[in-house]
């Protein structure tokens, strides 16, 4: 009797799985791992899910939480369900994660990076009409090597009062990031790639990075390749950002330049970001903090996470939906009627989201 019930349940279970598989193939609904995060993370994730629903995007969300747990052997790792989900779905969307100061474990972002070998951080910076900054014609992409360079974490105290930090540049990582940069430029119709370096001072390390970029550039003759010193890039960026297209660089320069470019368009609250990993894994995230002071009060601005989700849609090839949602978002900001506090208005997060949903539905 019980065995029969178990058999029926098994058949139902398998049936459910077949049903999911069929819908996925014929209706091409893709599953994406969603990591809401901490602080304002849950609210902005809900906002993004609502907007995607209004746009009828073929995305199914699988929510997972990431907290650091101690695995076998004493190494810190993310929960196995999260890891499995990401490896299965390959695409993820992440909200802000907090790193407690004396937690004893490395930051969550670092853990994710190590787990999935996220070697490229991509940040497209486009000026937003309606959110005024002194810079109005920004349209560039910064691609930053995310695994080595100055952030290798190798430091030694040589003698009392003398510290050395090691900056590591490897052929493999430089080649990988250069290849990704040129692929990105080709797939997104960008005309030029600029390598940012400081080879006049760090002759061997940045010299190696440059050599690899030059070698990869040989295979992509349709994309223009230039090299520029870091200080010249900073100088020209602040005076006239329209000269730049795609920038590729090692870790530290990338960190500084990507934040500089985010500042040009209005800050981290409106900047999308994506992390590309080996094995086709890609995690898109909002790079702002968790803002614990406004968490739960419906005051958060979901723009950064929304634009990252749009970037994710483009990565998956769903350009139509991406354009629809992005236009709706920019229209709402341009109208300046319903804006959250950080954008200069005093609407609530839910009102902002509802406005975007309305626009998306009107577009159909």
């Amino acid at each position: 009797m019980i065995l029969r019930i178990i058999k029926i349940l098994k058949v139902l279970g398998i049936g459910y799985r077949i049903f999911c598989y069929l819908t996925h193939t014929f209706l091409s609904i893709q599953t994406v791992t969603l990591i809401p995060g901490d602080g304002i993370g849950p609210e902005i994730s809900t906002a993004v899910m609502k907007i995607f629903e209004a746009a009828k995007a073929p995305i199914q969300w699988e929510e997972r939480n990431v907290t650091a747990i101690k695995g076998p052997g004493g190494r810190w790792m993310i929960p196995p369900e999260a890891k499995e989900s990401m490896n299965k779905n390959k695409i993820g969307l992440k909200g802000p994660l907090k790193t407690p100061i004396a937690a004893g474990h490395p930051s969550m972002n670092l853990l994710l990076r190590k787990t999935f070998d996220l070697y490229a951080n991509v940040r497209p910076c486009v000026s937003i009409e309606g959110y005024k900054t002194p810079y109005t014609d920004v349209d560039l992409v910064t691609i930053r090597e995310n695994t080595e360079g100055e952030y290798s974490g190798i430091e030694h105290l040589i003698v009392d009062g003398v510290v050395q930090s090691i900056k590591l540049i490897t052929e493999e990582a430089s080649r990988r990031i250069a290849e990704y940069a040129f692929e990105y430029a080709r797939n997104n119709q960008r005309t030029s790639v600029t390598a940012v370096h400081k080879a006049n001072i760090m002759r061997m390390s940045d010299g190696l990075f440059l050599r690899k970029c030059r070698e990869v550039a040989e295979n992509y003759k349709d994309v223009k390749f230039t090299e520029m010193y870091l200080d010249t890039v900073c100088l020209n960026m602040v005076q006239d950002p329209s000269h730049f297209d795609v920038l590729v660089m090692p870790n530290l320069y990338g960190d500084i330049l990507s934040d500089l470019c985010a500042g040009l368009i209005g800050g981290l609250g409106v900047t999308p970001s994506g992390n590309i990993g080996a094995n086709g894994v890609a995690i898109f995230e909002s790079v702002h903090g968790t803002a614990p002071d406004i968490a739960g009060k419906d005051l958060a601005n979901p723009t950064a996470l929304l634009l990252s989700a749009v970037m994710m849609l483009r990565h998956m090839g769903l350009h139509g939906y991406a354009k629809k949602i992005e236009t709706a978002c920019f229209d709402t900001i341009r109208d300046e009627k319903v804006l959250t506090k950080d954008l200069g208005g005093n609407a609530k997060c839910s009102e902002f989201t509802a406005d975007i949903c309305r626009r998306v539905q009107d577009m159909d």
């Binding site: 900054t133 002194p134 810079y135 100055e150 952030y151 974490g153 430091e155 030694h156 105290l157 009392d160 009062g161 003398v162 510290v163 050395q164 930090s165 090691i166 900056k167 590591l168 540049i169 490897t170 052929e171 493999e172 400081k198 080879a199 006049n200 001072i201 760090m202 002759r203 061997m204 390390s205 010299g207 190696l208 870091l230 200080d231 010249t232 900073c234 100088l235 020209n236 960026m237 602040v238 005076q239 530290l252 960190d255 500084i256 330049l257 990507s258 934040d259 500089l260 985010a262 500042g263 040009l264 209005g266 800050g267 981290l268």
Partner: protein
């Protein structure tokens, strides 16, 4: 013991003659054992700051033309000084950036040791040369121990920029950090570059920053770092800054991470007052600030060591693409020469030239190409000379 007493007597005897110079810099080393018998021999043990290269009322300054726009701009400086009868003679030392031997740069360093002060253009570094060919500018800075690079970014009234009324002083550690030139390839395809931070240098630069802030009446010093990632290196730098800050209770001290700093600089630059930072971040931040006030042609920079001072443009550009076309902006180099005159205590001349430069800046017609105008370098310099002549003091003919 006999030697120490001798030296103490000598110091007391010479103090009224050599005055402040000896009092501040003479170092007596207790327990020093030397076998000198005559007082004259002992004199050489006492360390003296080199006297200024000033003879007959005229100073001698080393001039290094460099590459690109350096030679033409420094020619304009010489012309202007000759015209305004500034009592400064230039000893020109050429440094050939293409040669692999270090004789040229060593000659230049020796000349600067002789004269104490230098004005230089940027010597180009060809980064395709092998790693043992070091950057000439870097060699100069480290050999002369010019530990502090000071850059005062001020919005000039006549120049159109996105942000107005910026007034930031940037102090950058000039000798160590990422520019240590220590690189090796341990395994083929893996290169390691060492970034060195030492306690002594960090304390020294922090002390310089706070003293400067106090002298100029500034209220806040911000340390720029990345100590959340480079915990030991930048952590040490930050700790040294905090230690020095505790000795200056009248000046506020805070710190900011470098990526946040660049973001704040492009959106809200008025929150910064004096900034102090290690070498590479200094490079980035000084270029961002130079861009904010109008470009590389407007900001002068100064490198100070304990005994020597070298003046140049703040962003150290060679400007190869605009060389010899009479379109370079001479403002940065001329303001650097004014900083040099201030260092030589020729304040009247410095103020006269600076005033003439600022008056010329107000004329949009005379702006060079980099700040959106159509003027040529010679037109700008001619205008400055005309203003100086109309100001009254003795000048030669134009």
């Amino acid at each position: 013991k006999h030697t120490t007493i001798m030296m103490a007597t000598l110091t007391k005897a010479f103090k009224p003659i050599l005055g402040r110079q000896l009092g501040n810099t003479a170092k007596l080393f207790p327990g020093l054992s030397c076998t000198c018998n005559t007082p004259t021999e002992c004199l050489f043990i006492v360390y003296l700051q080199p006297p200024p290269a000033k003879y007959g009322g005229r100073h001698t300054v080393t001039l290094i033309p460099g590459d690109g726009i350096g030679p033409e701009l420094l020619n304009h400086v010489r012309e202007l000084f000759r015209f305004s009868c500034v009592p400064v003679d230039f000893e020109v030392v050429h440094v050939n950036s293409a040669s692999t031997s270090e004789d040229d740069i060593n000659n230049a360093i020796m000349a600067i040791r002789r004269n104490g002060v230098a004005l230089k253009g940027n010597v180009e570094t060809n980064h395709t040369m092998p790693p043992n060919h070091k950057s000439r500018n870097n060699l100069l800075r480290t050999s002369l121990d010019l530990y502090a690079n000071m850059m005062h970014c001020q919005s000039l009234p006549g120049v159109q920029t996105r942000h107005k009324n910026i007034d930031i002083i940037i102090i950058r550690e000039n000798t160590e950090g990422e520019y240590s030139n220590l690189e090796h390839e341990s395994v083929s395809g893996v290169v390691e570059s060492l970034k060195i931070i030492t306690r002594n240098n960090s304390l020294r630069i922090a002390d310089y920053a706070f003293r400067l802030a106090r002298d100029k009446g500034r209220r806040r010093v911000t340390a720029v770092h990345k100590a959340n990632i480079m915990k030991l290196g930048d952590g040490l730098f930050l700790q040294c800054c905090k230690e020095v800050a505790s000795g200056y209770p009248d000046i506020e001290f805070d710190s900011m991470i470098v990526d946040n700093t660049t973001m704040q600089l492009v959106s809200k630059p008025h929150q910064f007052d004096v900034m102090v930072m290690p070498n590479l971040y200094g490079n980035v931040v000084s270029n961002v600030c130079a861009g904010l006030v109008g470009g590389p042609g407007l900001v002068p920079g100064a490198n100070y060591g304990r005994d020597y001072a070298v003046f140049e443009t703040a962003t150290r550009n060679t400007g190869k693409s605009i060389a010899n076309r009479n379109i370079a902006n001479p403002t940065a180099m001329l303001l650097a020469s004014c900083l040099m005159l201030d260092h030589l205590k020729l304040h009247d001349y410095a103020n006269m030239i600076r005033g003439a430069i600022l008056t010329t800046m107000n004329e949009t017609r005379l702006h060079t190409v980099d700040i959106g105008g159509q003027g040529t370098t010679s037109e700008v310099v001619q205008s400055i000379m005309r203003i100086i002549q109309s100001g009254g003091p003795l000048t030669t003919e134009i």
